[in-house]
Amino acid sequence: MTDDELDVEAEIVQMLAGRLPAGVQVSTDTRIVQGLGLDSVAILDFIMDLEERFDVSIPLDRIAEVQTIGELSRAIETLTGTA
């Protein structure tokens, strides 16, 4: 695991903090659809915030492939060329 990966993932966790239902804990292995307690539109809206934060566009088919927070973080690194 590189420093960049840690950074992106830590940032995702931090940005999620304010939006999750009480009691939801987030880690690398947290599943995005089942584990966050957010509906599908709320997840897509959160991903838009990530796109703005990291200045990257994540195509919808890539989003569909990503299942966990760790995978989302790696997808962003690949697209931004920081992986």
Partner: protein, 409 residues
């Protein structure tokens, strides 16, 4: 085989919870349509304020007569697709009329509005191309994104700057850029900032598709929608629309000046592999299109009725979408209140739409109305008064008054 439906357990639970609070909002059954604005529900007359029948043409005498004539002369159905089984001349005539109406070279008729988006977008945006869709796009646009082979990203709703950023990120990559927006958005009734979007589109050399499903016959001096009203028609490459709302029937279309546009008929699967519209539908749509071309009073009236409803509800203290267009959404404090509110309106003889997340932007729970030019002022006033009474009863207005009275910061 029980496991086949196990994946819908959450849907079942949601539906059970909704039904436990009253009616099933997805299974309202009108026993009889009395007019464009009234029906019978459970044996009682109900005022219809959620049918998208914007120009009230479903019972228009000329449209009904044309439809009846066509069914007598040409039969109940075409029983086949245009490319495999032949085109009836009236289908081709409607396409010429649509092209004339929009002042464009070509038009293509689809069997539904859903298929028009599905077909046009998925076919134009091929492998290696880039499709940029507004985040609040209709399901048909999202489904088109999945059917096509292009790379898809969604830009922030009505945000030309976010669109520009996304186009900038694509710089240096091959492939066409295709932007999709709508004229009036179907949930909150807001319009796209088309002038700004067109400026971004030109700068990036992209092409632009505008879906005027909810704005045809309503916006623009001649009823050509938001593109006309915003004076950007020359910069809009494709207009998509539907016959199922302001034109009072069913079907969809796409129109363009693109040379070779008609080749799409041979590569667009949602056009090729489905039966064409029945003659009765083509005939009534041709008549209703002729009506809006010659009579601007319908569009003017629906906008005037919309303002009456919008400002009536705003004065009562409801929180609404941003613009007084024929789609008027009342924002509910949360899901449960929205469900109760909707049930109480139906009790009181007013039919509107219950719109819940994830079908809504921003996870909003909405009571969605759609206004028709066939509504009388008295009907609009009755709707305002029923909604106001229910709003007081469920303390929606009271909570809102408290919330807006709180000091800011």
């Amino acid at each position: 085989m029980m496991s086949l439906t196990a994946k819908f357990a959450e849907v079942r639970a949601g539906l059970d919870a909704l039904s436990a609070m009253g009616r099933n909002p997805f299974d309202i059954r009108f026993e009889k349509m009395l007019s464009p604005t009234m029906a019978l529900l459970d044996g009682r007359p109900i005022l219809l304020l959620g049918t998208n029948n914007y120009l009230g043409l479903t019972f228009d005498a000329a449209c009904v007569a044309e439809s009846t004539r066509a069914i007598e002369e040409a039969g109940t159905g075409t029983t086949g697709s245009r490319i495999a089984n032949g085109t009836y001349s009236d289908h081709a005539l409607l396409e010429r009329r649509l092209a004339e109406f929009y002042g464009r070279r070509s038009a293509m008729v689809f069997t539904t509005g859903y298929q028009a988006n599905l077909g046009l977008i998925s076919t134009l945006a091929g492998r290696g191309d880039h499709l940029l869709v507004d985040a609040d796009s209709h399901a048909s646009i999202y489904d088109a994104s999945r059917l096509g082979a292009a790379e898809v990203t969604r830009f922030r709703h009505n945000d030309p700057e976010d669109l520009a950023r996304r186009l900038r990120r694509l710089e240096g990559r091959p492939g066409d850029r295709i932007i999709v927006t709508e004229g009036i958005y179907s949930m909150l009734g807001d319009t796209a900032p088309l002038r700004e979007i067109v400026a971004v589109k030109r700068e990036a050399g992209a092409c632009l598709i505008v879906d005027e499903a909810h704005s045809l016959g309503i916006l623009g001096e001649h009823g050509r929608g938001l593109c006309e009203a915003a004076r950007v028609e020359a910069d809009v490459d494709f207009v998509v629309g539907t016959f199922s709302k302001s034109l009072g029937a069913i079907g969809g279309f796409a129109t363009s000046d693109l040379p070779g546009f008609d080749l799409l008929r041979l590569v667009c699967r949602p056009y090729m592999f489905t039966a064409s519209l029945p003659p009765a539908v083509i005939a009534s749509v041709t008549a209703s299109l002729a009506r809006i071309r010659t009579d601007s009073s319908l569009g003017e009236r629906v906008l005037s009725r919309s303002r009456r409803l919008y400002f009536g509800l705003a004065r009562a203290g409801f929180e609404l979408g941003p613009e007084p267009n024929p789609i008027i959404a009342v924002k509910m404090p949360e899901r449960e209140t929205a469900v109760r509110f909707w049930n109480r309106l139906v009790d009181e003889g007013l039919y509107v739409n219950l719109a819940l997340p994830p079908a809504t932007p921003g996870s909003l729970s909405l009571i969605r109305s759609s206004v028709s030019s066939a509504h009388t002022e008295a009907q609009i006033d009755r709707a305002v008064s029923i909604m106001t009474a229910v709003g007081s009863e469920l303390r929606v207005l009271e909570r809102r008054a408290v919330a807006t009275a709180l000091p800011v910061g």
